[in-house]
């Protein structure tokens, strides 16, 4: 991967041909994406949504022993006021009884900074952050204002390298630079790879002066795996995946979310990197592979029963643990199926629409199919080659499932809901409300300290959908008593009317 020499990771539009504007069926998206004609589209009507800064702050404020500096106007990092709740929960879950929450600073760029540049202010913030909090890492996130006025955040970081004890990680996540918020993942990993992951084995993990200790460490590393978590994964999700990997006899080095920066330093010495979301981790894992020879598996999200088994099989195959994996899969799935039996009759043929990040949406849809539910539509926040695997699975059951590629854009969702009338909408934080106002029951697709991943997640999602369907009156009343902002005529229109550039 030659990108690493660049200051800024490439945009997903270029690197992967990722798109965010499509309406059709899963069969169509599959064929047309292969034809490569989904790029260069746009919407003539659009709604405010998520830029790459938002996932960046969600992931990075969760790091231990680190400070995030949002270099921009005072509002750019404001999302942390709510993201901080999960950070706090994470700290609480790991034993801190009076957790401090997310630690972040804003450089609060003002009118005069826009004129004279914000680099000096940023430098002062870095120096003060180093002194004040003595963190292991100082993460600098660049936003639109410094992106336009041309602040050199890499230069500022370089200049302070000697002066500051913490490792400085400049990260480019200016909102206007890319339509694909998932570019943030690349931007983050790019900076960690350039500034922290050096494969330098002089760390505490490697300095042993007696042979027995060295051998022990070698054995440990032969069973050490990097598990690339995502910010939409909860503590219980991480626990479940760790449980399964421990059953295989593996030790987990979890990163990036909730990790200590040392987890990044350790990463090149693992026996394997394991992704949980192809759209999230490919950049990091392929670099570790290229540079340090760490093999990886990354095609599969462990959400859904078959998907979890497949995930385990792929991991086992890389480490020669196939037999152990089959035994685990058999006993786990038997127990799960027994547990699911009483729930399934209540889920049978219930209809669903899903909306969130690409793989999350598609994999959760596959899980619902396994539970006997019918998928009416999926709304991945973007689409690229990584979506193909899950799309094929959905297509096999029903090629006519509708797909609406959109980063939120609830106006399209609401139109689709009126057409298809799902029993339940399984959506992303903040876009659920628009389905709720249509009177549909909601299961949030991630978060709330619940479990979604692995076998335990499959059961819990089933249990929670059943719970929601038991009493839908809250949203039914809501629909009867509040208005959507769209004119009546909208519901008779093609939901994809405002997508431009369709041949």
């Amino acid at each position: 991967m030659t990108y690493i020499e660049l200051k800024v990771a490439p945009r997903r539009e270029e690197r992967l041909g990722t798109c965010i504007e499509f309406g059709g069926t899963v069969g169509e998206v599959h064929r047309q994406f292969c034809g490569g004609c989904l790029k260069n589209r746009s919407r003539s009507f659009s709604q405010g949504t998520i830029c790459q800064l938002l996932p960046a702050t969600a992931i990075l404020t969760s790091l231990q022993d680190s400070v995030v500096i949002v270099h921009g106007a005072v509002g750019c990092g404001g999302a942390v006021h709510s993201q901080g709740a999960s950070v706090r929960l994470g700290q609480f879950n790991s034993g801190d009884k009076n957790p401090k929450g997310a630690l972040w600073l804003s450089t609060n760029l003002s009118e005069s900074d826009v004129v004279s540049g914000g680099e000096e202010k940023l430098k002062r913030a870095i120096i003060e952050a180093d002194k004040r909090y003595r963190p292991s890492a100082i993460i600098v996130l660049s936003t639109c204002v410094p992106g336009i006025i041309g602040d050199d955040i890499d230069g500022a970081a370089d200049a302070l390298k000697e002066q500051v004890a913490a490792t400085i990680l400049p990260i480019h996540c200016e909102g206007f630079k890319t339509k694909i918020m998932a570019t943030a993942y690349d931007a983050i990993f790019h900076s960690f790879l350039r500034n922290m992951v050096d494969g330098n084995d002089e760390t505490e993990f490697a300095v042993y002066n007696n042979e027995a200790a060295v051998t022990a460490e070698k054995i440990r590393r032969s069973r050490l795996v990097n598990l690339l978590n995502v910010s939409s994964m909860t503590g219980p999700d991480q626990k479940e995946l760790t449980r399964l990997l421990n059953k295989l006899g593996l030790e987990v080095n979890m990163l990036p979310c909730d990790a200590h920066p040392d987890a990044f330093r350790l990463a090149p010495f693992a026996a394997l990197s394991i992704g949980v979301c192809p759209t999230h981790d490919d950049y990091f894992m392929s670099y570790l592979h290229e540079k340090f020879g760490v093999p990886f598996v990354g095609g599969q999200m462990p959400i859904g029963i078959e998907n979890t088994s497949l995930w385990l099989r792929q991991i086992a195959a890389k480490l020669g643990l196939e037999d152990a994996a089959e035994r685990i899969i058999q006993s786990e799935t038997e127990e799960l199926h027994r547990a699911l039996q009483p729930l399934l009759p209540n889920l049978k043929s219930k209809t669903a629409m899903l909306s969130a990040g690409e793989i999350r949406t598609l994999a959760t849809a596959v899980l619902l199919q396994e539970l006997g539910m019918e998928i009416l539509a999926v709304r991945p926040y973007h689409y690229d080659e990584f979506g193909g695997t899950e799309i094929s699975k959905l297509e096999k059951v029903n090629p006519k499932i509708r797909i609406n590629v959109a980063t939120a854009q609830p106006f399209e969702a609401v139109n689709l809901i009126y057409r298809t009338k799902p029993d339940i909408y399984i959506g992303h934080n903040s876009d659920n409300i628009w389905a709720a106002k249509c009177g549909v029951s909601i299961l949030p697709i991630y978060g709330t300290n619940s479990i979604y991943s692995g076998y335990a997640g499959a059961y819990d999602v089933a249990r929670r959908i059943e719970r929601h369907l038991k009493n839908p009156v809250f949203n039914e009343h809501l629909a009867k008593n509040v208005r959507q902002p769209y004119k009546e005529s909208w519901y008779a229109e093609d939901p994809f009317k405002y997508i431009k550039g369709v041949e």
Binding site: S44, F45, S46, Q47, G48, T49, I50, C51, L53, L54, I69, A73, V74, G75, C76, G77, G78, A79, V80, H81, S82, Q83, G84, A85, N98, K100, A102, L103, W104, L105, S106, N108, L109, S110, E111, D113, V114, K121, E128, R132, C144, V145, I148, E174, G175, F176, K177, K179, M181, A408, F411, S430, I433, W434, V482, R483, P485, Y486, K487, Y498
Partner: protein, 448 residues
Amino acid sequence: MPDNRFIERPRSFCSLGGALLTATALPEVVPILHTAMGCGGSIYWNQYGSTGYLGAGYCGGLAVPSSNIQEKDIIFGGLERLEEQVRTTIELIDGKLFIILTGCTADIIGDDVQSVVRQYRNEGINIFGAETGGFHGSGYKGHDTVLTVLASEFIGQKKTKKKNKINLLGIVPGQDAFWRGNLLKIRTLLEKLGLEVNSFFTQHDTLDSIQNAGDAELTVTVSDFYARKTAEALQDVHHIPYVTNPFPIGPTATEAFLKKVAEALELAPETVNKVIVSEKEQYFHYIERVADAYNDLDWQRYAVVVGDANYAPAITKFLADDFGWLPELMVVTDDIDEEDKTKINAVIESLTSHYPAAVAYESDPTEIKTHFWQVIPRRTDSLYQKTFSPGFVVGSHLEREFAADIGAGHLTVSYPVGNRIVLNRGYAGYDGSLSLIEDLLSVIAAQR
């Protein structure tokens, strides 16, 4: 918080955030953001965690129309995209008034938004534009900017003024998580004086009533600091004078407030006295039956109050002058100039209880702790020591950890309010102070 320095965990929205929350709080108004794609989402996530889980409302949150300008628009100008977005918004969205709010990106590249506004106004569309890029300042400023645009361009000119009709300003949606309850309480109180009130953001306000607010006799701002430009615009454009008053919480402050309004409107003293007597009666109707526990269980507390320029002095005054608590320190978190500091200091200097509260101006949670430690004696091993116990911290959710560290009670009132749900609760006036008492004492009672 001087602007040459970073801010740790800021205690306000940016100008755009304040503007958007103001626009979505107005009846039948549809905002159109002219920003990069993430501003809408950032503000929505922010309001969730800072404004008591405030939802999107009619056309806010991720439904807000937004031009989502990209790099090419930044290079070549974003007006073409904006023009298209306004056209499709009018086609698709049911709104009576549209207001374009610009973000950092559009303001830096200098898009001439007014040209788009003019174009659609000529077509008969009720549309306005406000320059609200985040780098212009805080959410309080964005709020003032939007209302100033309405005051100068939307509110109709009226030749004659209507006796006893007023405009109410000074409560900032979003920056004040309790804005709905607070506004309604003040409005109801003023109505008891026989006034007709345009309060912009309550369920009793309509776009028509706002447009017709030009015949008000007076603007009453329940803040010495916020919405100042709006009050000035109402004065300059519509010749409506204004009075400002510290945000009133509790009987002592509210009585003074009512008298000030009555005086400015030349109301008969009997009118206002009657209201004061009956409101006080109501207040003590409830107080009488919490007084047992207050006394039996020794519910007097030392206090530290951290809040914006409305809340900090208002709560400090209530605690000191009505509730008999001991506010040792008041920290005002806004970035305000020396002249305004004198106004806040005046509130503290004129406390009727003469309680000697220390005053600090600081937003940074780390620095605020330093201020705490200057007034709160550290615990020692001695049997005989003067401690900050029993103590209470009234502030934002950022003070939670500190309060727990020193074993003090804690209630979140001021931004960010991420550990409470706020619907119709408000702390203003007589009635609101009863809610404040409920909330303060419930924290203590919850430990029983």
